[in-house]
Symmetry: C2
Amino acid sequence: MRLSEMKVKEFADELASSSPAPGGGSVAALSASLGAALVAMVSALTVGKEKHKDNWEIMEKTGKEATELKKRLLELMEADTEAFNTFMAALKMPKETEDEKKRRKEAIQEATKGAIDVPLKTLRACRDVAALAGTACEKGNPNAVSDAGTAAIMAQAAGKAAAYNVKINLMGLKDEAYGAQVREEMKDLIEDIKSRVAGVENAIDKTLG
Amino acid sequence: MRLSEMKVKEFADELASSSPAPGGGSVAALSASLGAALVAMVSALTVGKEKHKDNWEIMEKTGKEATELKKRLLELMEADTEAFNTFMAALKMPKETEDEKKRRKEAIQEATKGAIDVPLKTLRACRDVAALAGTACEKGNPNAVSDAGTAAIMAQAAGKAAAYNVKINLMGLKDEAYGAQVREEMKDLIEDIKSRVAGVENAIDKTLG
């Protein structure tokens, strides 16, 4: 069953079970998706309100992009669990003959790359959600400023969680050059998110005390 | 329809809609519930594994508490949306006569207290999830360390988001003494979570690089 088709309560129960997937990678993608959904809500609470007419255009664009990201991140939630299951299947491949051993090793490396790439995509999307949350905080309906702030915080937390999931899979990757490149990109993404979200947090602290 | 009975995708769509509830307060409670669910998973991946026998007892206790918190936080997710709807209903009360005005004002203050108390309860539960995630990181199966880390990060983000939702409702509260008391408690809770999660993040950075 697709995770997004589960009831919220069922998803939480499935997560808590002794099966290692879904795990942190899917939670990261889901949390970022909920952040994107909150940005879309702030947009919907802004566009059409006469008082905020100057911000309709930017908030309409922000809402559309957030809606796309919400959808994309729900797909990454599924993909993360699938990537883990592919990895587990590779681990279970036969390893009697030299040929089998070689094929298994290759399949494990292939699956490891998949299990790295999915949370890396999630992390990139988290950067985009953080940017949109910044716009929503600045240009959105001030009555929903706590929602824009929640979106920003969710994007940052999801980004950190996605990075953990990249890193734990990097430990099994033989391709060191690719690993170094991924670590470099992650560092930049995490820094970018950090500075954006710090800006949102400061602005909100000034408003809400 | 109860939020926990919605499909994950439906919940994200409902969140993104122009209705202000569910909003950030329900997202905070849900994210913390998912963090608690991850702690329960780490417990289930530890207890019964011969290699981790020394930690069975503590991880069994941790898992039970996490399972309780997961359930309680899903209830707070519902309660947050209900508290907002109660507040909206109070706002819509008639205000023609002096008597109606007085009753409406009282109902708004009552509903405001409710809208403060629910995310405050969520914040308290986030502190408990952060503490359990710390134990899961230290005593849980190291293969699931990224899941324990994700749980800690989710608890912190959810706690911050819950605090935003308390604060935005404090703005409408007339009872200043109660407001000051709530702000004091929140400050302590946020500090407590911060130091616990910083400990988890440092430990994980040492393991995962």
